[in-house]
């Protein structure tokens, strides 16, 4: 029997069965994206708070669209407008949100562990939309759905992750998720971004310095976004990164025929990925976006829907 999920805080603590359940539940919502009328009343009367304490466009729009298509209303809290800038603590901010009685809170925060901190203190389902360098579980789920759709299965594949693995919550969630399905992961990037500790994150993770070696035998390649502010002299110049680590058509040929190319976006063309690869037949970047909607709809349906929790008796409101 599947353990009922209360929150989605990360991939690390999920079982393989729970992950498969979420991926299976995304299937009907994939079909739904092709409906001419994309509006359900399933979560009508429910409110999802989108608490983004860190800038985000893609993930926020994806969650907002997922909620809207399920018929839920959304409350938006964005970093620039939030009271955090005025010195309010995270806990006070989310308690204020909770007092408006949302049925779920989607939270992105620059501090690792912030969604868990909130989940421990509020009685509302929490979805982690990315926390610090910790996890970005919905991204890993949509990546897994994309890989499973194209390959038919996840088991036994060879995954290569390129770039700034150290600072990437996308990479961490993906490594946790795919290793549960027996995927072998190769990490490749400048040494300062691929420290030895990452090998202990999950079973079957190795580091490789040369991209040519990292791509050999790869079935799936995830190119991470390179944050330009992290590229500077003398540590690493952009030109050097491009020369040594850019995913080019020529390098892609070293991977298995038909290897998939994923990118969590936003892509910086000409830096971590070449145009021809980004737009080529092996690229899955647009499927990833559509699958993100399906995954988020499935999660909101299961986490935010269901029987309403009894409101606390009068006078006991926190």
């Amino acid at each position: 029997m599947l353990q009922r999920l209360e929150h989605l805080l990360g991939i690390e603590d999920l079982t393989r069965e729970q992950i498969s359940f979420i991926l299976d539940q995304a299937k009907p919502f994939q079909e739904f994206q092709r409906h001419p009328l994309k509006k359900l009343a399933t979560l009508r009367g429910k409110t999802v708070a989108l608490a983004f304490f860190e800038n985000s466009t893609r993930t926020r729009i994806s969650f907002a669209t997922a909620a809207a298509r399920l018929g839920a209303d959304t409350m938006n809290l964005q970093a620039e407008a939030s009271s955090l800038k005025k010195g309010e603590s995270l806990l006070d901010t989310v308690r204020t949100l909770e007092a408006m009685r949302p049925d779920g809170i989607v939270i992105r925060h620059s501090s690792s562990g912030a969604p868990e901190f909130v989940a421990d203190r509020l009685g509302v389902p929490i979805v982690n939309a990315g926390d610090g360098t910790h996890e970005h579980p919905t991204q890993a789920l949509l990546d897994a759905l994309t890989i499973r759709d194209r390959k038919g299965h996840l088991e036994g594949s060879n995954l290569t992750i390129l770039g700034d693995v150290l600072h990437s919550r996308v990479a961490r969630s993906n490594i946790h998720l795919l290793s549960k399905f027996g995927v072998r992961t190769t990490l490749c990037g400048p040494a300062m971004w691929v420290p030895r500790e990452l090998e202990t994150l999950a079973p079957n993770v190795r580091r490789v310095t040369r991209i040519e070696e990292a791509l050999e035998g790869a079935d799936v390649i995830i190119a991470l976004r390179v944050q330009t502010e992290r590229l500077h002299e003398p540590a690493l110049a952009a030109e050097e990164y491009i020369l040594r680590y850019q995913l080019t058509p020529r390098r892609l040929q070293l991977a298995r025929p038909g290897a998939l190319v994923l990118h969590p976006g936003p892509m910086i063309r000409g830096l971590e990925i070449d145009d021809a690869v980004a737009d080529g037949p092996q690229s899955c970047v647009l499927e990833q976006v559509t699958n993100g909607l399906a995954i988020r709809m499935a999660l909101l349906y299961h986490l935010v829907g269901g029987a309403a929790v009894e409101p606390p008796p009068p006078g006991k409101t926190p």
Binding site: F29, H35, P36, L37, Y301, A307
Partner: protein, 182 residues
């Protein structure tokens, strides 16, 4: 609470004969098979719709399109049922626009499932007409919904349950009336 079988409503042979009749009625009342399509409601409406289509094929030679609809996302009791039920995909590989649709289900009871199925179909387009075909109509409607094609009408009390067993899903084939006794 125990569940006891009170009586058998239909045998396997009677189910088969009823479906033969329903298939003929559907084609006759539709003036042919033009624009006709069947949509089975998960789960037991699905094998019933496939069997109806096969019968139509046998006597008219025409393949009428058959689809499957899952009503989970359209239920009106989701906020009262606790953990959310598992969602399944619709499988409707034809355009419903201007179709003459017949929804197929095993038992017509409150009418709420059919309301949900119609909402689901409208999200896919604008059918020309929607009618309903059920194997058993057991009464106790809570919505103004009636079937156009009915296998059997049965008087039931509201503690009774009509159980439809189909070989594709249940292994055996019969319809029984059971009752809940304290």
């Amino acid at each position: 609470m125990r569940v006891v079988e009170k009586r058998q409503l239909l045998s396997a042979e009677e189910i088969s004969r009823t479906l033969q009749r329903l298939a003929h009625e559907i084609v006759e009342k539709s003036g042919g098979t033009k624009d006709l399509a069947l949509v089975g409601v998960r789960r037991r409406g699905v094998p019933l719709s496939e069997r109806l289509a096969k019968t139509v094929k046998d006597f008219s030679g025409v393949d009428i399109p058959v689809g499957t609809i899952d009503i989970t996302l359209y239920r009106d009791d989701l906020s009262t049922v606790g953990p959310q039920p598992v969602v399944h995909s619709n499988e409707i590989n034809f355009s419903v626009d201007n179709r003459d649709l017949v929804i197929v289900d095993d038992v017509l009871y409150t009418g709420r499932t059919i309301r949900a199925a119609m909402n689901g179909l409208f999200d896919l387009g604008r059918p020309k007409r929607i009618r309903l075909c059920v194997l058993i109509d057991r009464g106790h409607r809570e919505l103004p919904i009636e079937a156009s094609f009915i296998g059997n009408s049965v008087q039931t009390s509201d503690t009774e349950i009509v159980e439809v067993h189909l070989k594709e899903i249940d292994g055996d084939e019969r319809v029984v009336l059971v009752d809940r006794v304290p």
